[in-house]
Amino acid sequence: MEQIAFASIAAFTLACALGVVLAKNTVNGAMCLLLCLAGVAGLFIQLHAYLLAFLLVLVYAGAVVALFLFIIMLLGAHGGQPWRFRAFQAFAGVVAAALLITGLDMISLRGKTDAGPPVAGAGVGSSLKLYADQLFTTYLLPVEVMGFLLLVAMLGVIVLSRRPTEGEATE
């Protein structure tokens, strides 16, 4: 039963991921990304990582994809240039895909470890309380640094995108 659920969710996620890349219309691409993220959240739930699944839906599916859609709408959803076959690009793509598959294969075959007995107690990813405890004790400093990161990112958006003011008219 679990196997079937895993296989179907994984196939769904992969199909949606392909849709992101292949969609002609950017809005459709963004919607495929949304479904793909929902699929990944489903995989997390199967692993009993409910918190991660919840955060993924909330942050990525909720906020990030919505932002993507806004920007696509703002810029106008032109289909972009039609895809053309180029021999070099196709060759590079095939080589890259072959390398990737070989690497994943190596990792899944040679890196196989026995699952062993299940670890007692839930992992940090499963409970909000455990997660918060760690965040505000052991990892307090990284959280504070993240604050600065977000501030810098916000400043960067303002500095790089705002219209030139009277102090800095256009050239």
Binding site: G103, M106, I107, R110, G111, T113, D114, A115, G116, P117, P118, V119, D133, F136, T137, T138, Y139, L140, L141, P142, V145, M146, F148, L149, L151, V152, A153, L155, G156, I158, V159, L160, P164, G167, E168, A169, T170, E171
Partner: protein, 501 residues
Amino acid sequence: MDPSNLQELAAGNTWTAIWPELSLGCLALLLLVLETLLPRFIHGKIQTFSIAGQVFILAALLLDLHTPYHESFNGLLVQSSAGQAMRVFFLLSSIMVSLLARASLWKHRVSKVEFHHIVLVVSAAMMLLVQSRNFVMLFVSLETVTVGLYILVSYYRSSARTLEAGLKYLVMGSLSSGLLLFGIVLLYGVAGSASLPGRSSDAMQYDELARFLAANPHNFLAAAGIALVLSGVAFKIGAFPFQIWIPDVYQGAPTPVTALLAVASKAAGFVVLLGLVGEAFAPYAWLVVPILTFMAAATILFGNLAALKQHNVKRLIGLSGVSHAGFILLAVVSVPRVPMAVGAVYFYLFAYLIASFAVFGVMTVLAGHDDSEQEIGDYSGLSRESPFLAGVLACGLGSLAGIPPFVGFMGKLFVFVAAFKAGHYGLLLVAIAGVVISIYYYFGWIRAAYFNDEPLASPEIARRARDGAGRLLAIALAALAASSIVFGLYQGPLGAWVSLR
């Protein structure tokens, strides 16, 4: 978890241990506050205020230099004498970048105070980065550095080259962060696997990870993780085969940001690499040393050969920076066998700081409105227009080339001695060939500045050369040129510190 336990954990957060980083962060915030409070016509003074604040922090840090090795923040950070040295390093580099920015920003119509704010935050994050002994801390501070640099690289947004550089840096930076993260996750995952001996529940911590790796010396997944982490770091230091972004980004970025990328960002990458090679990945030296050996040889050769053909000085300095990364890798490779190599890395970084900022200072003063178009030909006859700038340039380039009596020579000497002691003879030959090649293009530049009778290429550059640097920048450049000679002749306690390690 009961409250007393929480209190005990929270007590591990000893904020006083990171006072330099905290004060840099507060200074950065203060700049923004001042910008909103003060009237527009004194905004120029905020830049000077930022530099004065950094000099003050540097002075306080120099008074408090001696720190015994201790952990803080529940083992996330480690304070040590090397960490203190790197704090001084990043403060020096951020002071120099602020000075260069002050000389460069007014030529462009961009916001000025925000630039200084981001430089301060990036420097503080680099200080945390080199002290971190935990992958979570490492990644968070690395991302803070990288996000700040994404913005700084595309700061002169009216230039198409700058935007191209910004985009390339964004894509390459995200890719390298992705590789690093994937490697970290593989290591964490395999170290938590219940069926392996020495299983660790907190493998984000360097010492825990090292213990696990020592118990499983030939695990495939761990090896894959290590290779991925090394690739991610190699992107940051610009080592072959991950140097592809360097020439374009260095050329397009504003010159002060190029300096920040070339000196501080690279140094941070190397100190992280030292921590990984010497500590966390120490049991996997059988894997790490061959990878880094190949990287070092290829980086030295690629950097020097590619720099030979460059006419644009920013591309030239970028590619020569690639070859310098190769020389430092040579010392990093020797670390598992020769403890003195650690000191050689630090000394080389300081020598590189002094020499690079001397060169970047002259470049910034001479750069016109289009920051990315600076050709070697523009420097012809510089010595007649401005003997001071030409002298600083010669000291910087001589030091980068590694000729005595400049400090760069001593840096290379320490590295080569370390590599010799470690028995990397083949690599040493490659490095010496690299030095010989590099002398050719560095001297091409010096020759343009000194032995060319043609007048300066354009009257504008001649005017900027005669105007010279502002008073503060001129003092800083003179100090850099002087220290490049003084430290080349006499290392004093610094040399003892290097060779005793």
